[in-house]
């Protein structure tokens, strides 16, 4: 279905949680992302759909990949993109987040892309500043653009994500990528499996609409896609798991183990990878199975789609306010 086939404007000014989206919103995002994915493969990538708007990248946690992806997305759309690495500026001077946000908001940016170590920080900033906010990762809570780009990558291969069996393996407990993916895949109607040692699973995970496994070989049965999560090194030394090598032997993805999956199983990873901890290095580099670099490419396209749609909402809101006066 194309957008012309139904009359519905993407209604969101923010992207804070995947739970804010309905299946039509997701379809619109994917459709625009497919457009930008094609444009990004041409030598004429620049567009002016966000011309005149300012995107503020506000990263309270160090990030190269996500921040770079958002920056590239904003710039290709013609927005003015400003990066603020707040860890090195006012936050370390003892200013509260509330004051920092209001100071930055007074500079009149239009869209804030926020990454923060605390759950709820993007919503908090949206409430305090009134600006459009895109969540680029908040604590262990959500990372919605990552989930969108993951499903978009799968949809590029399959057409539909609904009905497919997808396994997420690794540190679910501390993962915002897992939380957003579980939410989004549930909306899209996929069958979700989780596999991790009990120490890396939330206590109420059985209520999340997923099948939970502790045995990887069992979990991999007939899966259409497998998503490995990044394992934090500091959690691999006895606190949650005895060692990285024990983790690899129990939960690491290899070609041999994937033989019980669907024949054309896709292997994903949000990056950055720890080769030999969560994934065998040969599998990570296997172009037949690994879509890890496609995910990175999709990331720019999906973020362009999100920024474009939010930009449209901002302009529409502004126009209707003007008209009302």
């Amino acid at each position: 279905m194309t957008r012309a086939a139904f009359s519905y404007d993407f209604p969101h000014r923010h992207l804070i949680s995947v739970a804010d989206l309905n299946p039509v919103d997701i379809r619109i995002i994917f459709e625009r992302a497919a457009h930008w994915l094609a444009v990004n493969r041409t030598p004429d990538k620049s567009s002016d759909v966000l011309k005149g708007l300012t995107v503020l990248n506000l990263f309270f946690e160090a990030s190269t990949r996500t921040q770079g992806s958002f920056e590239m997305a904003g710039k290709r759309l013609g927005a003015d993109v400003v990066n603020f690495a707040v860890a090195h500026s006012s936050a370390s001077k003892g200013e509260s987040l509330s004051d920092t946000a209001r100071t930055l908001a007074a500079m009149r940016p239009d869209i804030m892309v926020v990454r923060h170590s605390a759950t709820g920080a993007p919503r908090f900033l949206a409430e305090r500043t009134g600006l459009a906010v895109v969540n680029a990762g908040d604590g262990m809570h959500e990372h919605p653009t990552q989930a969108l780009l993951d499903s978009f990558t799968l949809a590029q291969h399959w057409g539909e994500v609904g009905g497919k069996r997808i396994l997420i393996v690794g540190d679910i407990l501390h993962s915002r990528v897992a939380r957003s993916n579980i939410g989004l895949l549930n909306i899209l109607g996929a069958e979700i499996r989780l596999c991790a040692p009990p120490t890396l699973l939330p206590s109420d995970v059985d209520q999340w609409g997923c099948d939970v496994f502790h045995d990887l070989d069992e979990a991999l049965q007939d899966c259409d896609a497998v998503m490995a999560l990044r394992q934090q090194k500091e959690r691999m030394s006895g606190g949650f798991v005895p060692s990285a090598r024990e983790f690899f032997h129990l939960f690491g993805l290899t070609h041999e183990r994937l033989e019980v999956c669907a024949p054309d199983v896709l292997v994903m990873h949000p990056g950055p990878m720890n080769r030999g901890t969560e994934i065998h290095t040969k599998l990570a580099d296997d172009p037949e199975k690994s879509v890890i670099l496609e995910q990175v490419e999709s990331g720019v396209a999906v973020r362009m789609a999100v920024l474009e749609l939010i930009g449209e909402t901002i302009r529409r809101d502004f126009d209707s306010r003007e008209a009302g006066q």
Partner: protein
């Protein structure tokens, strides 16, 4: 404005200490209740208050509130704290140690307490049990008890080390004071900001399991039995913890338990929007926990309800939920919140007042908290039905962090008397 004698008549007199809830009045002479009953001779009194339609009760007593450190710029002072307390119906408040004001130094402790004495409302203080409330080295508890400390406390920081807890209980037993400690297994609770639940797991919040409280109560009750110390469970908050308390009490142990108003009237769903105002220590719990605690108030298993009033600078609540400092102001809203339970039919008025008057008074051996001949005339008059909306901008304090902001309450304090002298009059 002191009267030598004052009669209050035609009230609904509620005195939890004697179990009286019915028509009545009293006569105050020289700051002391001289006569109670319905046969008050108004002609003998210099002044008369006709309290028709009002509830007359002992002034409330709070065992746990906090003031900001002295001289905090634009902060809450002792004057604003006591003004807020009087407006909230409190006649006696206890400053409890907290991380910002650990009250762990014996030097000047007696002097501080003398300074606290002259603010209309009776202001008492507890002392820190360990140096800096770190839970390691004992503070000079004996000297501070001599200086007026009414119990020893630990703020939000439990005693992680079992041997230290044993020694503290043993040491404080010689002064016959309560050792008040937050029940939490620190290895499970340190660094957490929420109850382990479906909600907190979805939100990815660092969370503690409810049984952290049960483990701590079982440990501390066993140590109290061993050492003979007087253990006060500081802000019981879970049904699991309540079960552990009941088990300990079957062994005939003297264990006191308090509950914060927040845990009786709010639950984790209130924090669902991640509003920093609902960031509390202990965190807000499940509705089943809240209901169990309310029932324990009715059954008499809870000795005292505390406000856990904590004024906080704007910047410290100007952070997302997980980073915001814990605590809410509640001296001015505690009675309104408790009366809400009464109006909802969850609690009887006399039970709601017991844990805020005679309950805490009996724990500390105070003469206040009761309407009896010879008791100090610390009293409140309440309009039990008057509707009002909580507006922190109208608090007496310069601070405004309040979990009940915007809530509609029914029932408000009209007048607060201390030693027969009116220190707050809502109409004035």
């Amino acid at each position: 404005m002191s009267e030598t004698s004052l009669a209050i008549i035609n009230a609904r007199l509620v005195d939890p200490a004697s179990g009286h809830d019915g028509p009545g009045g009293l006569l105050i002479e020289d700051g002391v209740i001289a006569q109670t009953g319905s046969e008050i001779d108004v002609d003998a009194a210099d002044a008369v208050i006709d309290a028709k339609g009002c509830i007359l009760a002992p002034a409330l007593i709070d065992l746990r509130c906090a003031k900001e450190p002295a001289l905090t710029p634009d902060g809450e002072t002792l004057d604003t704290l006591t003004a807020g307390a009087a407006a909230g119906g409190f006649g006696t408040i206890v400053l409890a140690p907290n991380a910002r004001a650990p009250l762990d130094k014996a030097d000047g402790f007696a002097g501080m307490n003398r300074g606290l004495a002259k603010h209309g409302v009776n202001v008492l203080s507890a002392c820190g049990a360990t140096q800096g409330l770190a839970g390691e080295q004992m503070a000079e508890i004996g000297l501070m008890v001599r200086g007026g400390a009414v119990y020893a406390g630990q703020g939000d920081r439990p005693i992680a080390d079992t041997r230290t807890m044993r020694r503290l209980l043993a040491y404080t037993s010689q002064f016959d004071i309560w050792l008040s400690v937050r029940p939490a297994d620190w290895a499970l609770s340190d660094g957490t900001v929420a109850l382990e639940s479906d909600w907190s797991a979805r939100m990815g919040l660092p969370a503690e399991p409810a049984l952290s409280e049960r483990i701590a109560i079982e440990r501390d009750a066993a140590l109290a039995e061993l050492s003979g110390g007087k253990l006060m469970i500081d802000r019981l908050s879970t049904a699991d913890g309540l079960t552990a308390l009941r088990r300990a009490r079957t062994r005939d142990q003297e264990i006191a338990a308090t509950v914060a108003v927040a845990h009786l009237t709010l639950n984790e769903v209130d924090a669902g929007g991640l509003d920093s105002a609902f960031r509390m220590d202990p965190p807000l719990r499940a509705e089943a926990d809240r209901r169990a605690l309310v029932e324990a108030v009715t059954s008499g298993e809870i000795d005292a309800v505390v406000t856990d009033h904590r004024p906080t600078p704007f910047d410290d609540k100007g952070e997302p939920f997980a980073l915001a400092i814990a605590g809410t102001m509640s001296l001015e809203t505690a009675l309104g919140a408790m009366l809400g339970l009464v109006h909802d039919g969850q609690l009887e008025l006399i039970d709601a007042l017991r844990v805020m008057t005679s309950g805490p008074a009996d724990l500390l051996g105070l003469p206040q908290g009761r309407i009896a001949e010879g008791a100090p005339a610390d009293l409140i008059l309440i309009d039990g039905d008057k509707p009002w909306v909580c507006d922190p901008d109208r608090f007496h304090s310069a601070r405004g962090n309040c979990a009940w902001a915007g809530r509609r309450f029914q029932g408000q304090v009209l007048q607060t008397l201390i030693g027969g002298v009116t220190i707050y009059n809502q109409k004035a």
